[in-house]
């Protein structure tokens, strides 16, 4: 576990053509500082697993406009029109999954499960080409687990061991993503000493986390602001 003093150092190991999980529901709970740093980095061909690809010109949306993203895997790209346009121009591949399937596939990936059967999406356009199986009279489709080379997550507080706690609805996909990648970096508001977080409140135990860095960009009522 490493404590990075800057986001730039935190993402030094990231390379082109990697698969990167990025936490957040829109900009809420997205690691905005790490994403911003990624927009400054010379990488391409990334596969991004995230519920959305940011908002128009914000967050992961910048990365899309820079053509650094080869493929997006998520549940809701509608809110960023640039994503649709890039897809139409053939510059971006997209894989759309129901939100619960996206979450569960990441959870499964982190838990060493190869895949699972779900009845969400059975008989719809999103089940085309997927294996169908009847279990106790109910139809299910097979969904493979998702894993990544890197996960960029947003937490509220970390201790110096890398234990994480989250804030309100900014938690969303972050705890699962922290389990499902080879290299996990958490962006946090506050870094405290071990023992300061109650063992009962820790959501992500430190064994999942490779690095932490303090947030320099935060979401406020008036949008994304730089701090510090």
């Amino acid at each position: 576990m490493k404590i990075f003093s800057t986001a730039k150092e935190a993402i030094e190991k990231l390379e082109s053509n990697q698969t990167i999980m990025v936490g957040g529901f829109g900009l809420i709970g997205a690691p905005l500082t790490l994403i911003d740093e990624l927009t400054q980095k010379d990488v391409s061909g990334l596969t991004i697993i995230s519920n959305n690809l940011g908002e128009k010109g914000k967050g992961l949306g910048i990365l899309v406009n820079q053509k650094k993203v080869k493929k997006g895997i998520g549940s809701y790209f509608t809110s960023n029109r640039d994503v649709g346009d890039a897809y139409q121009r053939g510059e971006l591949e997209l894989e759309l999954l129901p939100q619960g399937t996206l979450a569960e596939s990441i959870r499964a990936g982190g838990a060493g499960i190869g895949g699972y059967y779900t009845n969400t999406g059975v008989g719809t356009e999103l089940s085309v080409g997927k294996e169908e199986k009847e279990i106790n009279g109910v139809k299910y489709i097979f969904e493979p687990a998702l894993t990544a080379n890197v996960a960029l997550v947003r937490a509220w507080k970390a201790d110096t061991l890398g234990n994480l706690v989250y804030y309100k609805t900014a938690r969303n996909f972050n705890p699962m993503m922290a389990t499902a990648a080879d290299y996990v970096i958490a962006e946090v508001d506050e870094i405290v000493q071990p023992g300061e977080l109650s063992p009962e409140e820790i959501i992500t135990p430190h064994l999942f986390v490779n690095g932490i860095v303090k947030a320099a960009k935060i979401l406020t009522k008036d949008g994304v602001k730089s701090i510090g």
């Binding site: 529901f25 829109g26 809420i28 709970g29 519920n51 549940s75 809701y76 790209f77 509608t78 809110s79 994503v83 649709g84 897809y87 139409q88 997209l94 759309l96 999954l97 129901p98 939100q99 619960g100 399937t101 996206l102 979450a103 569960e104 990441i106 959870r107 779900t118 009845n119 969400t120 999406g121 059975v122 008989g123 719809t124 356009e125 999103l126 989250y166 804030y167 309100k168 609805t169 900014a170 938690r171 969303n172 996909f173 972050n174 705890p175 699962m176 959501i203 979401l219 406020t220 009522k221």
Partner: protein
Amino acid sequence: MQNLIAKRAAQELKSGSVVNLGIGIPTLVANHIADGDIFFHTENGLLGVTDVNEADIDPNIVNAGKLPVGEAIGASYFNSAESFAMIRGQHVDVAILGVLQVDAKGLIANWAVPGKNIMGVGGAMDLLTGAKKIIVTMSHTSKDDTSKILKECTYPITSTRSVNLIITELAVFEVRNGELYCIEIMPNSSIEEIREKTKAPFKEDWHNNGGQAR
């Protein structure tokens, strides 16, 4: 019109229910709940959604429409996998959602329009799969005045499961064994108007209203 629909939907919610509200008219349903005994769930990870005053807005407390909300006493936060386990696992009593189309069997289309980019599905399919009861709240016709209640959906369906109740500004329909029953005429509507603007076959059953259409 939206409030009329939302108010009618609110009457369906039993005390102690866990309810997930979709975007649009469903969001308004919360304004018509008299007691605090309904627990609102939002799939991005909060059970115990309540309204928030402008001054108390926290940008990190939002609903599935990414709009600011408040946290009720007794609320809890959880991750997305757990949130959808609640939904798929049939722990959510009622989901109220908006749709683009509904057909004669009560199947709905609410996530994609042919010819446009299929860009988002969110939690729609999961809610259809797992919520114990599904209530649709919608305008009876679309902006160009075409009926949203059709013999068959022309847009891609969200699930092979039928919804339970459809509430529009004109009528309330119940889906029973894959058939539509008009059970109520809304204020300022008539059975003639309902027949004219509904492009799916339906039966009429007014037993809840003393055998009267209203």
